[in-house]
């Protein structure tokens, strides 16, 4: 934490030195409050995990005991590995699926395009537990048993809405003239896509991938239904306890 503060502060100080002291603007105060609201609960839990014996905030008797205990748990490490692999594969796949859809919908008739893009929001609109149960039945009907493939499919379908939404947001603001310009100087479609379109929509693709990865990483309902038997213990255990730093939280939450 200290090193982060040191690296980020100097530019601000240098810029403001001329004016010596300046009251923060309304926007800065509002942003600070918003930021505290976002990170506050996590700081509390992180602090609580450092407690030597019982839950309290601010922590008394600092100790790393709980963290070490969490890291030594075998289930925890295997679970983390499985979750990471599933999340990486599923979010990459759903982002790749979302790209052509978002780009294609932009060129289509807008009214219908909007309705179609809602179709891809579908898995978000159904409560996750109910959807997981229904998906489990469908996959059992198709494959007969749950396997890694089933788990992967489940994670792709629940993470797809995020990249679809975020990429659609940036493609709507995209000026088609830029791509036409690339075409008019003779760039082929592949070239135009890689060197003109993709850099322009990068922020949406990144945001979508992050949302997808995190959703898959945090997912509980889909995993509990679709995991193959050999992963089940770890995933169930893992769902209670995601970050190593928060080993304590599990004990208190249960």
């Amino acid at each position: 934490m200290a090193s982060i503060a040191q690296t980020s502060v100097p530019p601000v100080v240098r810029r403001r030195k001329a004016r010596r002291f300046r009251w923060p603007t309304g926007l800065e105060i509002a942003a600070l409050i918003a930021f505290l609201f976002v990170v506050g609960p996590i700081i509390v839990v992180a602090g609580a995990a450092l407690n030597a014996d019982e839950m309290a905030f601010p922590p008394r008797n600092l100790s790393l005991r709980w963290m070490i205990q969490a890291l030594q748990e075998r289930n925890f490490m295997t679970g983390a590995l499985v979750s990471f692999v599933v999340a990486a594969c599923a979010s990459a796949c759903s982002t790749l699926f979302a790209l052509p859809i978002a780009l294609g919908l932009r060129k289509a008739n807008t009214g219908w395009a909007r309705l179609l893009s809602l179709t891809f929001l579908g898995p978000l609109l159904v409560p996750s537990v109910i959807f997981a149960l229904a998906l489990y039945q469908t996959i059992m009907l198709m494959f007969g048993s749950s396997s890694f493939l089933g788990l992967f499919i489940g994670h792709v379908i629940v993470t797809m809405p995020y990249p679809i939404r975020t990429i659609t947001a940036v493609t709507e603001g995209l000026d088609p003239a830029l791509e036409d310009a690339a075409g008019s100087v003779g760039a082929g479609p592949v070239h135009t896509f890689l060197h003109v379109t993709l850099p322009l929509i990068k922020s949406g693709v990144m945001a979508g991938f992050l949302f997808a990865f995190i959703t898959s990483w945090n997912d509980f309902s889909i995993s509990i239904f679709l995991s193959p038997a050999e992963f089940k213990d770890q995933l169930r255990w893992f769902a209670h306890d995601v970050m190593p730093a928060f080993g304590e939280a599990r004990l208190a939450a249960e």
Binding site: F35, L99, I101, P127, V129, L135, T138, A187, M206
Partner: protein, 303 residues
Amino acid sequence: MSATPSLSQRIDVVAPENEGLWRLLSRCAMATPFVFVLVFFFGPLVWLVLTSLSTHELGSAPRLTFSLEHYRSYLGDPFFLINSVWTTVRLAVLSTLFALVIGYVLAYYIAELPVRQRGLLTSFTVVSLAVNIVIRVFGLNVLLTNNGLLNSSLIWLGLIDRPLRIMYTETGVLIGLVQIAVPYVVLPLIGMLASIDPALREAAASVGASKMRTFWTVTFPLSIPGVIAGTLIVFTLNAAAFAIPAMMGGGRVRMMGMMAYQQASINGNFPFAAAVGICLFLLSLIITIVYLYVVNRKFKAAR
């Protein structure tokens, strides 16, 4: 001058590309996700609809009888209508509004920062998103309970005499929903706001527009796609939420997602749970369509 030969060279490389092949490939790239969603979203949906039309008997599998009894007993009961449908709509809409305001302020501030600090604050937001809901709710719990940090500091400041009751009330659920939702609004907006050409704002200022007016007539309309992306994700997530109402509301705030979960897991009544799920799906879908329609009509002229 030196750029000219390399450009013409590139044209030679790219020009013979097969247009037809590219078109076929992009058709396939479009069709694959469509088929995927068709099978793995509409498949389960059909199963849900069929289950919701089945009869529930304790101890045996649901039997398909095409009866509407579950819908009738859910939607026909004023207790359910007020307690769960109205609570769900109200909390989902309110939490989306609050999350939008808080998230917009934060995203606006972050987007104005120099690149390095922007990256730092953005990654903090991402990290907070990556922490499991259970753990974040637990942190909120520590802050908001009767003898928690918020209440003790308010009492210390002399603002209140008795601790405010926040946990296990609707306000508590609302705070939980907003807390979970803010990062989903912030992330799409940062990219959107940072990509707005500063020249547009400068142009507005140079013709005498105040800061407020510049924001409402230039910046905000240009960020609308980001607003839509964030609010749609947040609204749908919160309408179907079950972990937060269960943990922050202590079972007293009955949102539809939680009801469906309880019916399925505790009572084992899958047909009823499926009926609640379908109702929630249709409700969110209608609200989303109306919302998109209104926003598009309102801001079409601005864009």
